[in-house]
Point group: C2
Amino acid sequence: MVALDFWFEFASTYSYPAAMRIERAAEARGVTVRWRPVLLGPIFAAQGLTDSPFNAYPQKGAYMWRDMARICASLDLPFRRPSPFPQNGLLGARVATALDDAARPAFVKALYTAAFGDGAQISDPDVVSDVLVGCGLPARETLTRAQSEDTKSRLRSAVDTAQAAGVFGAPSFVCEDGELFWGNDRLEAALDWAAGV
Amino acid sequence: MVALDFWFEFASTYSYPAAMRIERAAEARGVTVRWRPVLLGPIFAAQGLTDSPFNAYPQKGAYMWRDMARICASLDLPFRRPSPFPQNGLLGARVATALDDAARPAFVKALYTAAFGDGAQISDPDVVSDVLVGCGLPARETLTRAQSEDTKSRLRSAVDTAQAAGVFGAPSFVCEDGELFWGNDRLEAALDWAAGV
């Protein structure tokens, strides 16, 4: 079965609908999804960006919030604009890195729902802990592992891997042949490419 | 019949596929398209941008060219990356402004094909003249009208109208109720909104 790398960042707005719908869309095409947390901070910094482009360009930001509301409504996803924006997704990314492949998708979807469905503060360990518990995962043990040097190092390597693959924003999808797609609105095109459709 | 404002700029890459496919997509939903040339120069300048974001952020630019090639291939549209990029779309925008509503779409599509299908220099009056002739339009007379004070003033007003509607990039689609959609990939959503689907 062919695989697709799904690079996401918890602060990224459009990663939320992508995370919520990628499983069904991938299954329909026989594609395996590799859920890969990444940090946009260093990826944006490498491009000379010190803030989200949606803050740096307020008109684009205002449009994005309206676009997100429309997209979530069309997908029947709850949506609430988080404040502040962007949130700090570092803890979530470390937890997602620490979890094994089987546990990761449910946690990722639940944390995105907390961030963009409920407007929760996902940098707060208590919020992340509640999300872990809600997924039936061992919260304290997972949070400890998330803050280990091994996990931190693996996440840093993942950022390097993403940058080497050309990732400059999130969500991004990278096919096994290296073909890169960017944005929730390119999910179907990425899956079609991966599946050789 | 409901109408949709289609704001396009001849230097804008994603406006090309949008222009080439909007008529069929609009007709399928019973929506009338108002073809409205605009200039991104002043719109970008108002956001503090002095160059195309695809030049200001080279990784995003590299991705865009690959994405454009894929999109044009999927639509069976010829594609050639113009050099320099962005081209100066001012003359084209003035000509499109000077033409009447019936003549405008064919000219716009032909000039986009010259710019992004052939890589022609669309700031060259000879190129624009050839495109007008190819559309069966009176080239010399139209070019003279395009450079008249009346046309220049109407185009400046159009930029103001676009900005007042929230347009910050191209292509953009504005529905009669003011709902704004940005990007070739939002064409269907914009038409659905306009048609009340």
